[in-house]
């Protein structure tokens, strides 16, 4: 009776009874008037939430330690130039994806121009280090400032817009940044900036040093973004994503909260830009085009919006898959495209979706028979 082609929910439980139109399923859980871009999922009544939720595993300190250890160990396993290069690229992409996840996954703001912040970070670091001779490490505070400024400039007037209008505005912003970098002399025009220094000489091969540095920074970023998603601010993001009006009625200043998400995303993007600039040694506008923004967004959605482990997996897939298909030439993106469709059909919520859950500590300790509450 159950149609095997129907998407299943991640917990492996069955969907509601088969229904005659694909749309019936879709609509049940959606409120048409208030279309949050993050959308909502399957009829989730059937979803089971075990106490071992993925996001809890990932936020446990042991998991974090495991990631860092694994990451740091990689060069001992394979220190080939190619391995390190694509591993570093993938890690930078992970950082971008968890940053965008704050904006899109947590807060539900559709951002199609995220590469703008990546560019701002890369160019700020590149410019200060090449033209002005700063050590790369010293550029980081400047990058954070620039990313925040960028976030303010574009976010301030536009965060009130509804999702698709926000999408086009961010897309436009991304293009503006890229084209401006392409047209200005100080940014090196179409060739961009080159000869960007690395973090310094630590007695190791420079690509190994860069890899290690990236691994540490990205691990910290992943943990930070995962933890950010859980506290007061993280909850507020989700409230805003779910229902802005209801959030307002709870005293949540939705505009400020969106802003916080946007600026947080900007900082992540900017820092990823620094890593990218160092890793590439040369940066130029084509690295920050719309396709990049789209790919980062795809990493977030493919992995599972709002789910840190999912987004990490998504980023690894989106970053490494085309690299693995490198030999396929023009078939490369054909295969990539088809794979994307196939994956999404089988896992519509993403590879490792977010399941709303409570930590074990949140279970009620002792039921109060006679509630006594002081107002």
């Amino acid at each position: 009776m159950t149609d095997p082609s129907l998407p299943r929910d991640p917990a492996g439980t069955q969907l509601p009874p088969e229904e005659s139109s694909a749309y019936v399923r879709a609509v049940e859980t959606k409120q048409p008037a208030n279309v949050a871009p993050a959308g909502t999922g399957l009829t989730p009544a059937a979803k089971g939430h075990g106490p071992t939720s993925a996001s809890r595993v990932v936020s446990s300190p042991w998991f974090a330690v495991a990631i860092v250890v694994l990451a740091i160990a990689l060069p001992f396993i394979d220190s080939g130039a190619y391995t390190l290069r694509i591993a570093t690229d993938a890690l930078i992409f992970v950082m971008l994806a968890v940053g965008l996840n704050v904006v899109v996954g947590y807060c539900g703001l559709l951002d199609l121009g995220y590469a703008a912040f990546f560019a701002i970070g890369a160019y700020t670091a590149g410019l200060l280090s090449t033209t002005f001779g700063w050590p790369i490490i010293a550029t980081i505070p400047a990058v954070v400032v620039m990313a925040v400024v960028g976030g303010l400039v574009i976010g301030a007037p536009t965060l009130r817009l509804r999702s698709d209008y926000l999408a086009i505005v961010t897309l436009g912003f991304g293009e503006i940044i890229r084209i401006t970098a392409n047209n200005l002399d100080i940014t090196g025009g179409p060739n961009g900036l080159f000869g960007i220094p690395d973090f310094g000489d630590f007695g190791y091969r420079s690509d190994v040093t860069i890899y290690w540095f990236t691994a540490v920074v990205v691990s910290l970023a992943v943990i930070a973004s995962s933890r950010l998603g859980r506290g007061r601010l993280g909850r507020a993001w989700r409230f805003v994503r779910e229902d802005e009006d209801a959030a307002e009625a709870m005293g949540i200043h939705t505009y400020k909260v969106k802003f916080a998400a946007y600026v947080t995303g900007a900082i992540f993007g900017g820092l990823a830009g620094v890593l990218f600039a160092v890793h590439q040694t040369a940066i130029s506008p084509p690295s920050f085009n719309f396709l990049w923004s789209a790919l980062i967004l795809m990493a977030v959605v493919l992995g599972g919006m709002g789910s840190t482990p999912g987004v990490v997996v998504g980023a690894l897939v989106i970053s490494l898959l085309p690299e693995l298909l490198r030999g396929a030439e023009n078939w490369r993106y054909l295969v990539f495209g088809v794979l994307l469709i196939v994956v999404m059909i089988f896992r519509p919520q993403g590879i490792w979706p977010h399941t709303p859950s409570e930590p074990a500590s949140a279970a009620r300790r002792e039921p109060d028979p006679q509630p006594e509450v002081t107002a």
């Binding site: 049940e28 959308g39 559709l110 509804r162 698709d164 086009i168 436009g172 009006d245 795809m298 469709i341």
Partner: protein, 301 residues
Amino acid sequence: MDYVLQLILNGLFVGTFYALVALGYSMVYGIIKLLNFAHGDIYMLGGFVGFTLLTVGSGALAGGGGIIALVVVMALAMVATGLVGLVLERVAYRPLRSAPRLSVLITAVGASFALEYGVAVGYGPNPRAYPVTVGGGAVHLLGARITYAQLVMMAIAVILMFGLDTLVRRTRSGRAMRAISQDPRACLLMGVNVDQVISRTFFIGSALAGAAGVMAGAYYGKIDFLMGFIIGLKAFTAAVIGGIGNIRGAVLGAIVLGLLESFGTAWLGSQWRDVFAFAFLILFLTVRPTGLLGERVTERV
């Protein structure tokens, strides 16, 4: 004066092409809120289908007038791209109706890659020159210049816009389309075959894009496998300026974008054109957050 007029004419004409693509974009968006990133590639596909038909049929058409051949080919290409749109919806979008909205964005981008590189593999990555092109005379209007081909194409766009607008606003089907965008489940209870209406919308939208693809090939004389990418983005932008989901808005937005680009080029130079257009768009949306003709409803609480 003639210069300004020429700029306006340029803008109008470029806007016409954007409009043809934006119409389908907006229709599809209007009904299932999908940012169909593969739409531009359907336009590209239209160009290639037309190319193939014209090449294969060149012998048969050699004698006949190029224009008649073109019209026939365009009709066939519309059917072909319409069907591709149908299949795309069936395979890549329908299975994800219950998924988060952005999941469909992924399959749309996936479909876009698949179409682009499918054509790149099939036809090779080199651009192709169109076998039949429209040239013809030009009208001079107060010193500005516009060709007959351009006039015809603008007329086609306007007619299509009115046709579609009437369809969506006045007919039973159109009402159902708008209703589906708000509450598909309730539509079922009204007796609407939701899947069928959605399929129909994809067919129409894709056929329009296909027609635009053939026109582009015939007018500009060149097609390539990535030609849909930029125009897809522009169509999206145009649809948003106009108020996304709104048919008249799509056309109006496309024309505004065309004019912005035309004047942006003139005032700031080609390299700043898109910066000018996007900056204008951002400013505009901050004062008018739902686009030119977008509905402004006070959401009820």
